[in-house]
């Protein structure tokens, strides 16, 4: 709960909200869907959206936020590229009495009054969900379970957290062994290439855990190329649930997907309207996310938007 007093009145006088939104980039289909969702929701809510793309660079985001302050927007929303390093610019926003909403990723600032709320998923939790399903699935086997992991871009927040959450969930049981772990840069091509190398170096892999669908989809091709059957010989767990991933899940090639929903737009516009009016809003809003098994995927597939 943060006090939205005096300061917000002036700029929102005409009732039409101007929002500055700084996106990380367009590095994946997921991200594009996220952008689209924000844009369409803004239009639907009658919010004037100032959009900028940071091309994965924090400095660009800071610049964008600074320029939003300069342009005197009513509310600023952004998906931080990385957790730390936002204090200075957020303080400037606070001084200018512009409320800030974080989407998708959190910041690690100690001073929580710098932003109104954080709307988004919890990457660590996603990793945990993936790990939990795995322990469930293999709870009856006594043999060691050989896991290979395709990490996201080295150092990126989702890669770090999804790895940590997964490790936490399987950590207690010695039969789960991560025998190889390498970055696939969140891309299909890399996912395929790395998986081929894994398959050559390790003859018996039981499970693949990929930090996103795309790498998983690339890996499927590698597995098929090596003459194995994805989903049977090697169980595959991925995160995101984009359409191609869901299709593969429905086809039985992927075994389990943890959803990470990009459709934050409507929720964001809601929160923004409240923030501008000065109404109190919860400090943490978790997006509604679920997990999919193969059966659930078949059901959900026809209505998937992205």
């Amino acid at each position: 709960g943060c006090g939205g007093d005096g300061g917000s009145g002036g700029s929102a006088g005409d009732g039409k909200i101007t929002m500055g939104f700084s996106q990380v980039g367009a590095e994946s289909g997921w991200r594009t869907a996220n952008t689209k969702s924000v844009q369409t929701a803004a239009e639907a809510a009658g919010v004037t959206l100032k959009f900028s793309d940071a091309q994965q660079k924090q400095e660009n985001q800071i610049k964008a936020i600074r320029s939003y302050i300069q342009q005197k927007v009513d509310v600023i929303a952004f998906s931080p590229v990385v957790e730390s390093g936002w204090d200075t610019v957020l303080k400037e926003a606070k001084n200018a009495a512009i409320p800030v909403i974080l989407t998708d990723r959190a910041v690690d600032s100690k001073d929580t009054s710098l932003y109104k709320t954080f709307l988004g998923s919890d990457f660590v939790e996603e990793g945990r969900k993936a790990g939990k399903w795995l322990t469930e699935e293999f709870k009856d086997t006594k043999d060691p379970v050989n896991i290979v992991e395709l990490q996201g871009t080295t150092g990126s927040a989702p890669a770090n957290d999804r790895k940590a959450g997964f490790a936490e969930a399987i950590g207690t049981d010695p039969k789960f062994k991560v025998i190889a772990s390498q970055t696939g840069d969140f891309t299909r091509a890399k996912g395929k290439e790395v998986m081929e190398a894994f398959l050559k170096a390790n003859p018996d892999i039981d499970v693949l855990y990929a930090h996103n669908d795309d790498m998983g989809l690339g890996a499927i091709e590698a597995i098929e190329g090596a003459g194995k059957v994805p989903g049977k010989d090697i169980k595959i767990i991925t995160i995101d649930a984009v359409k191609d991933g869901m299709q593969a899940l429905a086809d039985g090639k992927i075994s389990y997907i943890v959803e990470c929903s990009p459709l934050l737009g409507p929720q964001l516009m809601d929160l923004a309207a409240k923030a501008v009016k000065g109404e109190s809003i919860p400090a943490r809003v978790v997006t509604e996310e679920t997990t999919f098994t193969q059966e659930q995927a078949k059901e959900a597939l026809p209505s998937r938007q992205y």
């Binding site: 594009t32 959009f51 793309d53 400095e59 600074r66 342009q71 730390s84 390093g85 200075t88 150092g155």
Partner: protein
């Protein structure tokens, strides 16, 4: 070999490209002011400085290297490494900034020095040596840690949030002051000291410089050391800007720095160019960014296309006007 009739024009011909660049920059700024509300303010220009102080410092170092005909691809990684070392020492180890900052600067300079030595004594192309340096510095970042580390130290925070007030309600950050001091010192070195002139001579023709009895070895090693130092200083400024250390900071900054230098009219083959051009180059890149964020309606891909287009128009005009003037 075209002929120059000297003394015909008040402005020496060698300054024309830089002047053209400066005029174009002003034109771009005016165009922005016409198109967007609350654009044509002094603070916008100052913000460009604030947001690009670190790039400016890095580009200064890069200018030295490019003037000798070399190239330094390691700068972005060294910037990241400096932020990472600063953050981990200050936050995790509790070192005082007064000890950390000199250490970081020394590490950057030492890295540059080592690359310079390899380039000169083993006669290996700068591209490949500094690329290895880039891998090394980024690799070192990840060995320190893959997460980003916040800097909460008071000195850093105070420095980061301090503003130097200027008349007219405008202000700049201390980083801008530091960057401008670096620019002035570097311009002095390039223009008024032997080292600076040796840099130009080496870039003009390394063999000639050698035969003229110039200390080519010292000069070449010096420019990479300077570049390493500037990158480290850029890293310190970036850690002030971001208040964090992170292995993925400044990805691709080497390209921005090179682009800034070259847009400023410096020849990549060495021996010709001015530091003032580099400052303009950085400002142009920064202003393009600002225009993009004021435009505010561009999708991610249109952003890229638009940046490319602005760059193209700028370079084309710069080129065409300079050529027209010359003939």
């Amino acid at each position: 070999m075209s002929v120059l009739v000297t003394g015909r024009r008040a402005v020496p011909r060698k300054y024309i490209p830089v002047l053209v660049t400066a005029c174009l920059f002003v034109a771009m700024f005016v165009a922005g002011g016409v198109r967007y509300d609350s654009f044509a303010t002094g603070q916008i220009v100052l913000n460009v400085f604030i947001d690009n102080a670190f790039l400016l410092v890095v580009a200064v170092g890069m200018t030295f290297v490019i003037l000798t005909g070399g190239i330094d691809l390691s700068v972005g990684a060294v910037v990241a490494l400096s932020t990472m070392i600063s953050a981990s020492l200050v936050t995790d180890q509790g070192w005082p900034p007064a000890a950390v900052i000199p250490l970081v600067l020394a590490i950057g300079a030492a890295l540059g020095w080592a690359m310079g030595c390899i380039i000169h004594y083993f006669e290996i192309q700068p591209f490949i040596v500094t690329l290895a340096g880039m891998f090394l510095a980024r690799g070192l970042c990840y060995t320190i840690g893959t997460d980003s580390i916040s800097i909460t130290d008071e000195t850093y925070t105070a420095l980061a949030q301090a503003r130097v007030d200027l008349p007219g309600g405008m202000s700049v950050s201390p980083s801008v002051v530091i960057a401008l001091v670096v620019v002035l010192v570097a311009a002095y070195v390039l223009h008024y000291t032997r080292l600076g002139r040796n840099v130009y001579a080496t870039g003009g023709s390394e063999q000639s410089a050698l035969l003229m009895g110039l200390p080519v070895a010292r000069t070449k090693i010096a420019v990479y050391t300077i570049s390493g130092f500037c990158s480290a200083l850029g890293g310190v400024l970036l850690s002030l800007y971001m208040l964090s250390g992170y292995g993925l900071h400044a990805v691709g900054m080497e390209l921005d720095a090179i682009a800034a230098v070259v847009i400023g009219g410096t020849l990549l083959t060495g021996g010709s160019g001015y530091l003032f051009g580099t400052v303009l180059g950085v400002l142009v890149l920064g202003l393009i960014q600002t225009i993009i964020s004021f435009e505010g309606t561009l999708s991610s891909w249109w952003t890229k296309i638009f940046i490319g287009l602005l760059l193209l128009v700028f370079i084309l005009l710069q080129r065409l006007i300079s050529v027209r003037r010359r003939t």
